[in-house]
Symmetry: C3
Subunit: 482 residues, 3 copies
């Protein structure tokens, strides 16, 4: 259902005999773009302006009138004017009475004013029906038709009929209206287009910090150490070997950090003996961006997979394999097959593949359209059960990778252990604590707390209308954090 009025212009012009008139206050860029689009979609458009000239800039086929004259032509008036000039409308109170005013304005900063522009307008003109809409759509997109981005128009307003009328216009322009309820939602709608990935910031900075730390750590161990000790030039490792050490470590740590806040929350609840205390702010924020943390981790895991798969086509690897074979032949060394090494190598790779596969499944289920299809019970099954399985597999993958070298003193360089050993600390800690938390005695207490039981409550639960509350919900919705 793309571009309803892009090409069908003449047809629609013919078929809609009774062209509806829409009035637009303000001849700025957004007003003109919206007017141009409405004209295309079969509306007739009247502009209201302080000075009634300048029709050269305006789309041909439109009129420019004074505010009060323009307002009389239509019962829907789009206010494409800056908030600072709203008080000017007090003069027009009488004309605008009963009209539908569509506030399309945005601000420069999030929460710039105490109340939203639309609510401010509604206070100035209590007789008019103010509807907030169109602020998330760009004038450039309207004009160019390049609506690759979201076609969603958030609409809110206190008058249902006014809202319906505006939503019909939105649909006619080929956009998708989303009813956001009453004008109380306007503040949120006005903040929306100003956001730039608010939930992704913490995961982004955290992963950047982890990457930088492990990058320099690996550079010291793998490039500077051999150069100082053996005068080897290993700088070419910067392109693939070092990233392929940094990425899996970052992925594993981030994945563990997805599950750490849940574990901390459980400990806090056990300690406090109630779920009715709010968590500290940092924990709340951490819990809210677990999905983003997980997706960043998945990105690093994906890079690790590809960097690993290209190993055999690298010049360095081919050169080394060639030389090993040549040495073996020339020295006539025997090269026996060691089954335990084959087991270690294969199971390490296999654990990694299975872990990555489950990780990918988690990523797919976090797609908005997929997570909308599953109910809470299914979502928790996937995110909690599969999530911990993924963490366990990936941790095991790293442990087996270490294999026999694990913690052996010969792996230390300048007293620095291998980077993967540092990476294992958080995942192992999370898994151990989680294992303790799911032991029956602790799990039962936690489940009761999450069902509303309080350790220090003066009145026992039975005194409440407890038995009759919606306790059946517990069956599917409690019993564990994510």
């Amino acid at each position: 259902m793309e571009n309803p009025c892009a090409n069908a212009l003449p047809l629609i012009m013919n078929s809609s005999q009774k062209q509806k008139t829409v009035c637009i206050f303000g001849t700025g860029d957004f007003g003109r773009s919206l007017g141009w689009k409405m004209l295309q979609c079969g509306y007739s458009v009247v502009f209201g302006s302080r000075s009634c000239q300048m029709s050269s800039l305006l789309p041909s086929g439109t009129e420019v009138l004074s505010y009060s004259e323009a307002a009389r032509k239509s019962d829907i008036i789009i206010i494409a004017i800056h908030r600072d000039h709203y008080n000017f409308f007090i003069e027009l109170t009488e004309v605008l009475n009963g009209k539908i005013l569509v506030d399309v304005s945005n601000n420069l900063k999030i929460n710039q004013y105490p109340e939203s522009n639309a609510e401010y307008l509604a206070q100035l003109l209590p007789g008019a029906h103010v509807v907030k809409a169109f602020n998330t759509i760009s004038a450039w997109a309207l004009q160019s038709g390049a609506l690759d981005a979201s076609r969603q128009v958030f609409v809110c307003g206190n008058d249902t009929k006014a809202k319906q009328r505006v939503m019909d216009i939105v649909r006619t322009l080929g956009l998708t209206p989303l009813d956001q309820g009453s004008l109380m939602a306007a503040k949120e709608i006005e903040n929306y287009p100003l956001q730039l990935f608010p939930m992704w910031r913490f995961p982004f900075y955290l992963s950047a910090a982890l990457c930088i730390f492990f990058f320099f750590y690996s550079v010291i161990r793998d490039i500077i150490y051999p150069y100082v000790n053996k005068k080897e030039d290993n700088t070419f490792r910067l392109a693939i070997s070092i990233p392929n050490r940094v990425f899996p470590i970052t992925a594993l740590v981030l994945l563990a950090l997805v599950y750490l806040p849940g574990v901390i929350a459980a400990i806090l609840q056990l300690y406090r003996g109630t779920k009715y205390h709010r968590f500290p702010h940092w924990l709340n924020h951490w819990m809210l961006c677990r999905k983003q943390l997980g997706l960043v981790a998945l990105g690093f895991a994906f890079l690790h997979v590809i960097y690993t798969l290209v190993i055999p086509i690298r010049y360095y690897v081919r050169w080394r394999l060639r030389n090993i074979t040549a040495t073996q032949v020339i020295d006539k060394k025997d090269d026996p097959f060691i089954t335990s090494t084959a087991w270690l190598s294969d199971s390490y790779v296999s654990l990694g593949i299975l872990g990555f596969f489950l990780f990918l499944l988690l990523g797919i289920t976090s797609l908005p359209s997929v997570s909308n299809m599953v109910n809470w019970r299914e979502f928790r099954f996937v995110q909690s059960k599969l999530g911990y399985l993924t963490l366990t597999l990936c941790t095991a993958h790293t442990l087996v990778y270490g294999g026999k070298r694990f913690l052996s003193p010969s792996a230390l360089r300048w007293y620095l252990p291998s980077a993967y050993i540092l990476a294992l600390i958080i995942p192992c800690a999370v898994l151990v604590i989680k294992f303790i938390l799911i032991m029956p005695c602790i799990d039962n207490t936690l489940t009761r707390i999450r069902q509303g039981w309080e350790r220090n409550s003066k009145c026992s639960k039975s005194a409440l209308f407890g038995k009759s509350d919606v306790s059946s919900k517990a069956e599917c919705t409690w019993a564990s954090e994510l």
Copy 2:
């Protein structure tokens, strides 16, 4: 538009001068959690309870009154009480008359009662406007704000205005209301949160059975047979080689089983000469979970791809390649390049890659948000045409893999053929039958049957108002099963 009232609490408190009051019956966990959330979002909340104490448990800022007193404070009453206590409301009939009652209850089992809780409540209180809502949301999620899962709230009710009011509340809480129509939908909505992947069970068990069978089959041929005959220890193959034999076979069989029910349905329709007989129940269920079958198959295919790509970095493979080269050099054997082998090897790999690519495309188009963007004609084009092409490519991939060894007696071990030969039976059968079905003579009959023609109909089709029915739909929608 996440978390509308998470941080903006004080602002919203200020801006909404006229706080609306909502009454909640029941002070159990869900009632308290919902009340807490509503308080956060600017509502004032009154609890109705049998005993009017216990305010320590309840969110501060709320009141606890008796049922009838609380009900008088608001025209929206949320019933967070177990169904067993609904009959208690008969006493309150007068007070609740004309009020909007929001039933949030769930049951313990699917179809536990003959009628839904909401319909039962509506029968008890015919004067009230019952709306079903919120039952798919977890109290824990409401409280913690961790609404990672679906924010969708299914709403249904017979009174449109009451439904609208409830949907406005849902939106204010930062959730997405989905209008499900009249109260007849309540049963479905109450069953929804109790489901655990109902459509995925058959595919899951089927693929598990296939995996186990082919796993033991491969273990016998590849590990036990060499051990018995040559005392070779091949157990390390359990980690990668055996899974990489089991997964592609399972994927291929499952993919064929996606298309088998369509073929069976076509044969049934040809045999019966009509489309107006219902298919047997098992066939219907099979057809309804084809998408899930296909996605499970895609998962196995993906694992096969990665298990194949890691081959060159395995210790065993490197060791074997090294030894082959060493033997060649030491024995001074000539190693001529065999073009036919290169052709077989390359085309086998190439067919597999193309098959996997198309398979992935099929998977992507089955994402809910993508399949909502395509019309029926496009969907059928992708799923039917591309689907059969995928099956053909994957079957050819397996056939060429066999190459010259195919059916050669030397490949038998204890009279057991290679596992991939068993895997080819169903795909080849499906492709052969499909090939027969699309031959013009048969295809024409099938098309006519699917357009509503019946072989044994007493009256000929022309007697009907047939020419004038919406036959044009046939152009794009018939002509073949999936």
Copy 3:
């Protein structure tokens, strides 16, 4: 919420005491299928037909009456009759007055009639409330329950209450109604099911043309040239080597063609000095299918990745590596490690991996459900910033691939340069022009033009009510094309 009435038939039959009656005009296949489904979902169905017989074909439990008799039984009448017979309804004007008529018809061709069928029906019967619905659903899908495809039913109509009633029926049948506004949308809704990937055609044909050209180009250079000059049989390269040369080239060129129209548009705007002139039609269409172009390019890039990763398991590659090692050992040649070659090889691979990773990110954000979650500012950040970074990385990947051989005369065969050199022309051109366009002096002019400034405007901008227009939108929405 799948299949509401599939299994629950008897329950629903019981629980809905007051079965609503729906009348269906036309006993063709779609009418019968819809009637069958409605019967299943608890409606009682009456068919209206010219001849009142033939109940054998109709679902049992329904009645067949004459049109006028049937119409009297229900206030909702589904018109499952071909448009050609609509004028027949003029006789029934009186009976149909005030009734809700649901037009389900489709046409054979896009824009077959000047006005939509639903609008035509509304003109014939001005007293009835015409609602367009169900035309995107297939009769076969309704009957078989195999609604794998979209469950979306586009609904439009001028009467809000009539539309609500029809949307309730749609929901009861387990489908998702989408309100498309007034009857003006009917034309678009009727065209919708006839489309077959309209936006994908240009990308498809373009990529096919590119593939074919580069395929034959590579065949000449890599197969015919060696055969003619050295009598080498390289035909086996057709399976993997040649595709793995054609696919990355096509991907790179297509990716560059995604960003070329934006660059052309910017030049056009700079030249014209205004944004208020429409772009030529071809440029508009090109801009509208950039997303599809990008996704096709991503498909080719994905194929390139897998074709590259399978290199080490190919028979030809293993044979060649074996022979190189053997020659080295037998000839006792020294094989020194060349750091610069390792650098080139590794950085070429690394650039490719990072480019592919960002490309994949772009692909994921273009999924409808993901792009609906981001606002315009975020979308532009991803598509424009990340997009150009991807193009830069992929171009660098190709440049480094050339490495020292780049433009060396020895690489010419029959005066033909390597194919990848041709592939670099468009990407390099786009990047160079883009680099010029983002230089401050030019960028400022462009930004002002996109904010509505016109070079040749007679009146200066300050004369307008310019300062008060919604200039704040500029902050987040202008400043560059995609």
